[in-house]
Amino acid sequence: MDIGLESMQWQLAGQQPAGDFAPVLVGVVGSGNLEVMLEPLPGADCEVRVETSARGFRPIWDAVVADFHRRHGLAGVRVSVNDMGATPAVVSLRLDQAVAEWRSRQP
């Protein structure tokens, strides 16, 4: 049985340039929780990378990431996620929290 982590990645074309900013980190990797980091990325893509211990949920991640991108449409951002089995609602909240943190630091 393969017990490794599942890794996923998305490249999405964004509309709202995030510009340069100090990396943002929210959340903690723990049972049913996750950490989300936002970093600047050259170009206009929103890149999302997920490493998760809960294997086999790719279609749900597709939906959560698409929903996130529909709401924020960030461009020039790398979103990195370390997940320990968070539910989709928790993932969405953490992603929104990271964006809110990024916004609060904008001049």
């Binding site: 490794g4 982590l5 980190l25 723990g30 980091m37 211990s53």
Partner: protein, 294 residues
């Protein structure tokens, strides 16, 4: 307003404990210095491997700090986590800040990285002693929900000073470990009152294993850190012998003792049965005179 220390994450503690905006992190999350072992076991990494290290200021004074994240694998010490702590202590020996603060929250060695974690803890202990011998004090702050156990419990008692809250816990073997190895008759890990009166902050303070007992409040930890910043524990033969005397005396007093309440009674604590219910401020004056107080 009271900000609960136990409910904060490691990074929130650093932000609230140090002077505002003064924390500068080394090997921050974006450096992605993560465990080389966890992914093979199907466990996700954390970008900082569960510990944030760096420098900051405490009422204007330069300090080095490390904060363990208890929510990530119980604050367990793995290879990278341990190496970050050692690196911080070694750097402190070169750059000589006013003190090093370890915000400990750990179940001990991360079992997934058993030998690497054990080596990490022993290296941290060695680095703490080297740093103290070089004249830079090490303060350990304990107040996280996971307590301070195993290897980090050893590290705490190697430090100059321990500051603990009444909800903090400090011991070698954790309750579950004792129950698993000696049976539930020996120690019921689900008996919360038993767990706290055996390993909790009040017990550690009454016995002299902690120098300061504070409320579960980040501001209280900050004030206690300032109070003890300039009071290193002597590190010489006389201090070592005094410590041995204290431990021998405790072993004698604890002979045939089944419960912490009985030990408090033997130590001369008035109304020992009421200790668990007392406010921190009410308990502090009840600590018996210690055999040695360097």
């Amino acid at each position: 307003m009271n900000l609960s220390y136990s409910e904060c994450s490691a990074r929130e503690r650093l932000a609230a404990l140090l002077d505002a905006g003064s924390f500068h992190e080394w090997l921050p999350p974006q450096a992605r210095i993560t465990s080389p072992h966890l992914a093979q076991l199907g466990v996700p990494s954390s970008f900082d491997d569960g510990v944030a290290i760096g420098r900051g200021r405490l009422a204007g004074q330069a300090v080095f700090v490390a904060a363990q994240e208890g929510a990530f694998m119980g604050g367990g010490v793995g290879e990278v986590h341990g190496a970050k702590l050692v690196g911080l202590l070694r750097r402190a020996q070169r750059e000589r800040p006013r003190a090093v603060l370890l915000l400990a929250e750990s179940g001990g060695v991360r079992l997934h990285e058993a030998n690497a974690g054990l080596i990490g803890v022993s290296e941290v202990m060695r680095a703490v002693f080297d740093l103290r011998a070089a004249g830079v004090p090490v303060l350990v702050l304990i107040g996280g929900a996971n307590g301070c156990f195993g290897g980090m419990g050893l590290v705490a008692r190697c430090a100059d000073r321990v500051i603990i809250s009444d909800v903090g816990r400090l011991a070698m073997s954790g309750p579950e470990v004792i129950e698993a190895s000696h049976g539930v008759e020996e120690f019921d890990a689900r008996d919360r009152a038993l767990v706290w009166r055996t390993t909790g902050g009040k017990h550690r303070y009454l016995l002299g294993d902690a120098d300061a007992l504070v409320d579960d409040d980040v501001a209280a930890f900050r004030q206690a850190s300032l109070d003890w910043l300039h009071r290193p524990r002597p590190m010489d033969l006389a201090a070592l012998e005094a410590e041995h005397t204290l431990l021998a005396e405790r072993q004698r007093q604890a002979q045939g003792c089944d419960d912490a309440r009985e030990l408090w009674q033997r130590l001369g604590v008035p109304e020992p049965a009421s200790v668990p219910d007392l406010e921190v401020a009410a308990l502090r004056p009840l600590r018996p005179a210690l055999p040695e107080t360097p």
